[in-house]
């Protein structure tokens, strides 16, 4: 399982299946400020990721 963060960093979370929102919160990312794709498909942030899932996080809220 790999997760591509908004800044392009790729992380490989440890542990078993977990909702993306938990991962985001642990990284200090507010789930309301991003959209998530899992294996190329738009998904809600409470989707559970596991196994060989490829997840991408896109930031929707910018500063300024």
């Amino acid at each position: 399982m790999s997760v591509c963060l908004p800044d392009g960093t790729i992380i490989v979370p440890e542990g078993g299946p977990a909702p993306v929102s938990s991962l985001l919160l642990s990284l200090g990312i507010n789930p309301l400020e991003v959209i998530v794709t899992k294996n190329g498909r738009l998904v809600p942030e409470d989707v559970v990721i596991c196994g060989s899932d490829e997840v991408k996080i896109f930031r929707v809220a910018h500063g300024g």
Binding site: L32, R41, F58, G64
Partner: protein, 320 residues
């Protein structure tokens, strides 16, 4: 594949795979139900504030980013329902190297796809220099300069094109942040300025159909209607009162779902209690460009005169 499908949350309405979790209502929605829900909400906002009338000519501010692209798509579906109403898009090229080219290309592609007339104007052609050039002096806050001059550019084009209103892609998050900022600044006149308010002779009305749709929903709406996941960040984005308020508002909304909407509805209740005109400054017309403004010279002309240091030349440029 079957295992993957099982893991995906499904839409409460149709059991198709969900793309969105609505924390406010506590339910999942698929793409189709999210899109129809957003359109119904925007239509209700438009009607409640009487934002569009039959025969209206609407200028849509189109940067080519997610919010304005979503707005143009929404209005292209809704406006034909208002007899004689029409749309055209206006893109303002501020002149930000490495950022604007991509979004302008998106704006051109979208207006082409929707068959909507499109005008592109630039700071360079309107004001004699790009935002990058203006900011080289390092004296100004990028978002302040950009906001003031872009607003003027849109107003100028709207007036030239005889538009009845200017539609912008501001969403619920933007509005909730503005309410909080107005409280923090103690600016009661702005706080109780009604969305879509007709401000009198010389002003082109501004409307915000996404007033009650969150930024995340607007982004998804844009993607689900065929726009690409292209969310470039302006290189000038940085710390500002708004960016701090945005972070606060977003955290509050996550912890207490619905707080942004309650903030907007709370402001709405103030409309009937507080008198905007009594709280605001007296209205006059700018002696340089002739635009209606509060105070003497309008903010944009004050800024342009300061930037150029050539008061006389600016007077010539903006009175022709």
């Amino acid at each position: 594949m079957e295992g993957e499908e099982v893991c995906l949350p499904v839409c409460d309405a149709c059991r198709q795979p969900a793309v969105y979790y609505d924390r406010n209502k506590g339910g999942h929605l698929c793409g189709a139900h999210l899109v129809s829900g957003i359109e119904a909400r925007a239509r209700s906002t438009i009607d409640r504030y009487d934002m569009i009338g039959g025969g209206d000519r609407i200028a849509v501010g189109l940067s080519g980013g997610k919010d304005s692209s979503a707005l143009l798509i929404l209005l292209s579906k809704i406006v034909p329902g208002y007899r004689g109403a029409s749309l055209f898009a206006v893109t303002v090229d501020e002149g930000i190297a490495g950022y604007r080219d991509e979004t302008i290309a998106s704006a051109i592609a979208l207006t082409g796809r929707l068959g909507i007339p499109h005008r592109i104007v630039s700071f360079e052609s309107l004001y004699g220099r790009s935002l990058d050039a203006i900011l080289k002096r390092g004296k100004y806050h990028p978002c302040t300069v950009c906001g003031i001059l872009r607003k003027k550019a849109l107003a100028d084009v709207a007036r030239e094109e005889r538009a009845d209103s200017i539609a912008t892609g501001h969403n619920l998050d933007d509005e909730a942040q503005s309410v909080l900022m107005n409280y923090l600044r103690g600016d009661l006149a702005r706080l109780v300025r009604r969305p879509g308010e007709r401000k009198g002779a010389g002003f082109t009305r501004r409307i915000k159909p996404f007033l009650e749709v969150s930024e995340k929903e607007v982004t998804l709406y844009s993607l689900l209607n065929g726009c690409q996941i292209c969310l470039p960040e302006c290189p000038y984005a940085g710390s500002s009162l708004r960016s701090e308020v945005r972070s606060m508002q977003s955290s509050l909304e996550y912890a207490y779902p619905g707080s942004s909407l309650r903030l907007i509805h709370g402001r709405e209740r103030l409309f009937g209690i507080l008198d905007h005109d009594a709280l605001g400054k007296e209205r006059s017309h700018c002696p340089i460009c002739g635009e209606p403004c509060s105070g003497t010279t309008c903010q944009a002309c004050r800024l342009l005169v300061e930037i150029s240091g050539e008061n006389k030349d600016n007077k010539k440029r903006f009175t022709t």
